[in-house]
């Protein structure tokens, strides 16, 4: 009965915060876990529980899945990405009745990869989607290998659907020797930007089962691509869902012989789409719903967000690790127009205090970038990195204050690409979106 009191208290906290005009965030969940660390055990979810994890693309994929599934039933989801145990508990407290029952057809949870064992020890999972594993904030999260082993261990007792990226060796390996659960693989057909050697840095060069060096037919981005082990069966999967015929510039692709239109225009988003479609097919969702969801979909939270500021078309994008940054640079390079770029780099705890990852970003291939502004707590580190890639130092400007950086960015006309890491998101978006401009000479 104690858990019911905890739920009641936390519901009050949530209501109270709402009265104060705050969205609650992780506080109700934080309190619930403090009062009863096993609180997650007591929620009874009527529908299917679906989790999405991976280094990059969790929020986008969770949103897409929720959009698709909401066509066929009620969905509860942490769409804003409060993705550790406290945020997920908050979401459940908010949506349950006083006995801990949550009535919905689908509970779709984005979950931080390191919190999978913690959250789903007590919460029964029906479908588990794994996107990719890249190096990410090494000082905070440790080596990728340790993480993969942790997830693999969690999966030993797992009996639901396991939906894996066939083209990421770090993810694909999780399907090996899993007899208790049903394993599905999704993939993306070779696209026009695929390369024969690894363009950016990646992980997982050796077979986890026999240590032979993996061979690749091609790389889509980072270490994601068509690979196999020359020595054992690793990499020879039956693909259950494949996105093909990709034309990123036109925003088109094919799935099950149907042509789709989309605003998704990066290769990594194609993988997210393939993952979401794989999951949807398990729940027998109609192709029409898939089509509509992908067509109308746009995220406005700093993930490839397009706005016009001071007459300048501006693309805002959050990057948290080298893979995300390299994909963003490649995306920017598809645009042949002249442009200016701003990179905001912070080193707060949530970003990872180690900023050496910026040296794994390939800046030597910039296409028609006329000026680069750097900002954030590590603005100079960013400037030094870009300089050493060979970019003309005279075209680099450094402003530690974000407002000053944005004011200087819009001094010139033309297209802007604004890139920032995690804790810089709010301030950068605020400064850009609130920029009033001096077009009329004030």
């Amino acid at each position: 009965m104690y858990y019911k009191i905890v739920i009641l208290i936390c519901k009050f906290v949530y209501k109270f915060m709402k009265l104060l005009g705050k969205n609650g965030g992780t506080l109700p969940g934080n309190i619930a876990l403090r009062l009863n660390k096993n609180i997650l055990k007591h929620f009874n979810i009527t529908g299917n529980v679906i989790a999405v994890t991976g280094t990059n693309g969790k929020t986008s994929t969770t949103n897409l899945i929720s959009n698709i599934l909401s066509n066929s039933g009620s969905v509860v989801s942490n769409r804003e990405g409060n993705n550790i145990n406290t945020g997920i508990t908050s979401l459940l407290v908010k949506n349950c009745d006083l006995s801990g029952n949550i009535k919905c057809d689908y509970l779709v949870l984005e979950c931080d990869e390191h919190y999978i064992p913690v959250v789903f020890k007590d919460l029964k999972l029906d479908s588990f989607v794994v996107l990719n594993f890249f190096r990410d904030q090494l000082d905070r999260t440790g080596e990728v290998e340790t993480l993969i082993q942790k997830i693999d261990k969690f999966l030993e007792g797992y009996t639901g659907n396991l939906i894996l990226n066939s083209d990421d060796p770090n993810v694909s390996r999780l399907g090996f020797n899993k007899s208790k659960c049903k394993v599905y693989y999704y993939g993306v057909e070779k696209f026009s930007g695929a390369t024969s050697s690894m363009r950016d840095r990646g992980e997982g060069k050796y077979c986890p089962f026999c240590s032979a060096r993996l061979e690749y037919d091609y790389y889509q981005y980072s270490h994601v691509g068509k690979f196999h082990c020359p020595n054992c069966d690793f990499g020879k999967n039956n693909i259950d869902s494949i996105v093909s015929g990709i034309d990123l510039k036109k925003g088109k692709f094919e799935y099950n012989n149907k042509t789709f239109e989309t605003r998704y225009n990066t290769i990594y988003n194609m993988y997210n789409v393939s993952a979401a479609f794989m999951l949807s097919s398990i729940y027998d969702i109609s192709m029409d719903y898939l089509y509509e969801s992908v067509k109308g979909f746009e995220l406005n939270n700093g993930r490839l967000e397009s706005v016009v500021i001071n007459d300048c078309p501006t693309v805002l994008n959050l990057v948290k690790n080298p893979t995300g940054a390299n994909v963003t640079i490649n995306y920017m390079n598809q645009d042949d127009e002249h442009k200016e770029m701003m990179f905001v780099l912070n080193d707060k705890i949530a970003d990872g205090k180690d900023v050496s990852w910026i040296w794994d970003i390939n800046f030597s291939i910039l296409n028609n970038v006329d000026r680069i502004i750097t900002s954030g707590t590590r603005a100079y580190d960013m400037a030094v990195r870009i300089k050493n890639s060979g970019y003309d130092v005279k075209k680099i400007e450094v402003y530690q204050s974000i407002d000053e950086a944005v004011n200087n960015l819009y001094k010139n006309n033309g297209k802007k690409y604004v890139i920032f890491n995690y804790t810089a998101t709010t301030d950068t978006r605020r400064a850009v979106l609130n920029y009033k401009g001096d077009k009329n000479g004030l």
């Binding site: 000082d139 240590s211 205090k353 050496s356 990852w357 040296w359 050493n388």
Partner: protein
């Protein structure tokens, strides 16, 4: 004039942006009109001529990768000793630093043999006990005191170091020792990532100078470069941490 760099196991030891050190050296050489040639060596490839280079470089990697390559590296022990004796500069970061010592004992107590070129050895501080954080040390570069700024992230602690790279001025409180790394005239072994040379241009130039001297048999004067961004970066960090 050509500056030849031998980059060991770049595909295995590239975890913390260490290859940025090569980019910094390349940039600083090219700005001075010196050609920079980077050759790489990894497992199963043809044996390189170690003494033929101005610099031998090795970065840091994950434990698993490190044990795969230590068996390979040990074949070249005599060649590497001979290159060091001839004055080739050797820059070793993190895992590379550890592997040039006697051994590395990991968190499970398993011992990975090192090359044993130097007398130090490394013992893991336990799985949950890593030294992670910004670090500033005071080193002697070209006879002058110089603050070297970097970021450390390692589980092992290295003991029995005869000549340290420098005295620690700022570190994460977890870190329990006062001196960092290992240094001879033409060898530096250190835990500093960042990458190391990105925030320490004088150190980068020292490595260029010693490497050039070894092949050209005389001191080469290096033209000063515009290091305004690097120096401002250093000022910001030194002010913040010291």
């Amino acid at each position: 004039m050509v500056y030849k760099i031998l980059y060991l196991y770049p595909d295995l030891l590239d975890l913390y942006g260490d290859s940025g050190n090569i980019e910094v050296l390349k940039y600083r050489l090219q700005k001075r009109g010196i050609e920079c040639q980077v050759d790489t060596y990894s497992i199963l490839e043809d044996k390189p001529n170690f003494s033929d280079y101005n610099l031998i470089f090795m970065g840091g990697g994950a434990d698993r990768e490190q044990s795969i390559l230590s068996e390979d590296l040990v074949k070249y022990k005599e060649d590497i000793i001979s290159a060091i004796d001839k004055g080739v500069f050797v820059l070793l970061i993190c895992g590379g630093f550890q592997l040039f010592g006697k051994y590395y004992k990991d968190a499970d107590g398993q011992v990975i043999d090192g090359l044993g070129i130097f007398d130090y050895y490394t013992v893991s501080g336990g799985k949950r006990n890593r030294n992670i954080g910004n670090i500033i040390i005071e080193s002697q570069i070209d006879g002058e005191p110089y603050k070297v700024i970097g970021f450390e992230n390692h589980g092992g602690i290295t003991y029995d170091i005869s000549n340290s790279f420098g005295k620690i001025l700022y570190k994460n409180p977890n870190n329990t020792y006062d001196f960092e790394g290992f240094m001879l005239d033409n060898v530096i072994g250190t835990y500093l990532h960042g990458p190391l040379l990105s925030k320490n241009p004088a150190l980068a130039d020292y490595i260029i100078k010693i490497g050039l001297k070894c092949k050209n048999k005389k001191e080469i004067e290096l033209e000063p470069l515009d290091d305004e961004l690097e120096n401002k970066c250093r000022d910001v960090l030194i002010t913040q941490f010291l």
